[in-house]
Symmetry: C2
């Protein structure tokens, strides 16, 4: 009935090593070890049970028999939009328990472990690993990116310098309840590129060096500006990147004017793959950088703020003041460790491979006359492993078609779509529905042709509505 839906099914040969099985399925290693122990114990107990063991390559039917152990996956749908596997809270926590043992995390971090070394504390070890990898003097783990970036602004600001500059699509302007004003008592200089595309169309450009140059023409700005924030990549623009030479030029301008240069690196691993740079190179121009553990790295939550030693020392004081210095951050620390290891240190698919796969697929979807009649991508060629899509059909029409395609093919082309807002450029161009699409290790494991098949079936719903 669902011929294409093999991606999430488990076939667990009982003789394979539990580490392999764990990697194949994303299931906690301890659970797999226990299942194997039970099966081996049953081998001793006579033929009736042995028969079960013999057939113990876990198809979905006998995976269900093991559901009390948490072995059964939620569904067997091919989800084209899911960059990470969707696990239940119980499975996430079991898996993190395994990671604690694999990574030798034996004690809880307590109030940031500020006085411990990276040998004594898993939290400090994660901070040391990251600051080393990124070539910054120190790093401070924080519960959220909102907190990390507010803290960066607070440290860089002075009594006379209460302005910061950022792109009009910055997270600080759109999603933080005006914390910069209400809490930090700072004001933004907004670099608005909305109307810069003379040719029309969906494209809105990323921050460029000439924007920053024009800011500094105002003497007030130059005197009162404390921090310039550059987001790499621009998430709200579908992952666009400021051209690398201009990233460096902007850095030079900031230095000349005594302005701190901060990188919003929520998707820094994605950006590095976009530029073809390593992690040290991409953050080298910046005085401070924030990175996130729950986007590309698939962690629970959590961020790292990095910079020089004095900056990080102050960051730990502000972390306390903002209430982010928790009694323990243990679940987030082990989740960050595990995500960093799985997606950066020893990945089954690199961020470069994810970008290239998305580029291939977008190229094929965009050059298919049927599909491209119903969806347009921005940017046209993805610059990282993410892209935004726009559809002329309404959100209700899309949902109906998505469900229809899933019922017939077992392929879910989209699970998160949103209406285009009235004030968006895309609205004037006739688009009603939009979505964000990121290639990760989950949807990255799906064959390219499945993407074509799914989108073709979706487009058919509109071109041949009676069939």
């Amino acid at each position: 009935h669902h011929p294409q839906c093999m991606a999430h099914q488990y076939r667990l040969p009982v003789h394979a090593c539990s580490r392999q099985l764990s990697l194949m399925t994303g299931l906690p290693r301890r659970l797999i070890m226990l299942v194997k122990m039970i099966l081996f114990a049953m081998v001793f107990s006579g033929s009736a049970v042995t028969a079960f063991v013999v057939s113990a390559s876990l198809s979905s039917s006998n995976a269900r028999m093991l559901s009390p152990l948490g072995m059964c996956h939620a569904d067997h749908i091919v989800d084209l939009q899911a960059q990470h596997p969707a696990l239940s809270p119980s499975l996430i926590l079991s898996s993190l328990a395994d990671s604690c043992e694999e990574m030798g995390m034996k004690t809880l971090d307590v109030y940031g472990d500020f006085n411990l070394t990276s040998e004594e504390s898993s939290l400090r070890k994660l901070e040391a690993n990251l600051s080393d990898t990124f070539g910054k003097e120190d790093a401070v783990f924080m519960p959220s990116g909102v907190m990390a970036q507010n803290i960066a602004l607070l440290i860089h600001a002075t009594e006379k310098k209460k302005l910061f500059a950022c792109h009009h699509s910055s997270h600080l302007l759109l999603h933080e309840q005006d914390a910069y004003r209400e809490l930090l008592k700072m004001e933004p200089i907004i670099i608005d590129t909305t109307n810069e595309n003379a040719a029309g169309g969906l494209h809105i450009p990323a921050m460029r060096s000439h924007h920053v140059k024009s800011i500094f023409l105002s003497r007030t700005n130059a005197e009162q500006l404390s921090t310039l924030i550059l987001e790499l990549p621009h998430r709200e623009l579908g992952g666009k990147l400021t051209p690398w030479p201009e990233v460096l030029q902007i850095g030079n301008m900031c230095r000349t004017h005594g302005v701190k240069y901060h990188c919003d690196g929520a998707r820094i691993f994605e950006a590095a793959a976009g530029y073809g740079l390593n992690l040290k190179e991409i953050v080298e121009p910046f005085d401070s950088v924030y990175i996130s553990f729950y986007k590309g790295l698939g962690g629970l939550s959590g961020a790292m703020l990095m910079g020089d030693a004095k900056f990080c020392q102050e960051a730990r004081v502000w972390l306390r003041r903002l209430g982010g210095n928790l009694y323990t951050l243990m679940p987030y620390i082990i989740s960050a460790h595990a995500g960093y290891h799985k997606h950066v240190i020893d990945p089954c698919m690199t961020f470069t491979e994810k970008k290239e796969k998305l580029q291939r697929i977008i190229q094929r979807l965009s050059s298919d006359p049927l599909i491209s009649a119903y969806v347009t991508f921005d940017p046209k060629i993805p610059e990282t492993n993410m892209v935004h899509g726009y559809m002329t059909t309404s959100i209700e029409e899309c949902k109906t078609a998505i469900q229809e395609v899933e019922k017939v093919t077992g392929i879910r082309i989209l699970s998160r779509i949103r209406p285009v807002e009235a004030n968006e450029r895309a609205k004037q161009l006739g688009y009603q529905t939009k979505f964000e699409w990121t290639m990760g290790s989950a949807n990255g494991a799906i064959d390219d042709n499945q993407f074509l098949n799914g989108w073709r079936a979706f487009s058919h719903c509109f071109s041949q509505p009676d069939k």
Copy 2:
């Protein structure tokens, strides 16, 4: 060799139900179920393995055989100071995975689940449970108490009312890096009771109604004061309580002067048992209250801020601004749920029983001439299940004696002691070492006589140093 050290040893009769075994040991129920499945499977496989099953009441030696399953406890020391069992990160997470299944938590909360109902979201369900139990209109889960109380101050403050009042031992003054000033731009009116004990001695009184009355004598105070914070119980004073009639009187004064009355209820369950009130009664006088999940409830971290609907609506906006509205709080939510259930809804030992046990033991220690020569408690009779202790011996002398006692008796009388600071009253009285002692369900399970035996052995180290 350690005749008294049975408290943490496991004797797991294989026929007992796994829920009982889980409660007895604090071990995750799923692990126990799996061990039992393996043992039962082994019964089928002949006498050699059956013999193992027959002896499967888990003494410490065969508990060690099960250590790959995480069944082995860290040590078998009787820890008189530990209110909760000390579990490894891996065991904590496995146990929380079990709780997810027991409590039916099937989905992750995402960015606070602000638009979901308590039927749809475990986070909102926890908030609804607590606001219902405490008789407040709404409740907002937050990562930390620092954040919760800063948010309460921000909401209650207005442009003209930037003062708040609190006791000199308040957490806000001692442990938050002056966030009230540096971040909130507010200033405290400090009710300092340090020198109010005319009789001398260790005792420093809690906040009383006459202190608050004297604040309002100043017209500036009365005009600019937005919030009065009362901590129940006063943690830094060893758990002392403001007399209940005065809690109500202070509330009346606040109402008269248009001042919001906020309860620092980090240990509200302890305070309620101290007064003999239920949870609705104890927070009834307050406009807002903060409670904590990682003290008496043994959770990982996390707090709840409660008040009327409008207050909580604003609190969710500030939660975002302070960076506490995380992508997911799932591990903290399930940990709070489980701790609340274990210690409040269906406790093996109530907070009243914990208080009474501590009172009994302090009475016996204080009336023992040998022991009372080396340790003094404040308050003399605990008002809740916590107390502070002061010793004239140095921290090094104490540590040596503690280790000696542990080696000989298997009883660890203290694991966390601190030096008395130069500016403390206790220093002038000749005390060098101090500690906090809270009775919980872990040390609460230890026989009263063990406490006497341990402290007597400790005192012997000083009275007969050559033995």
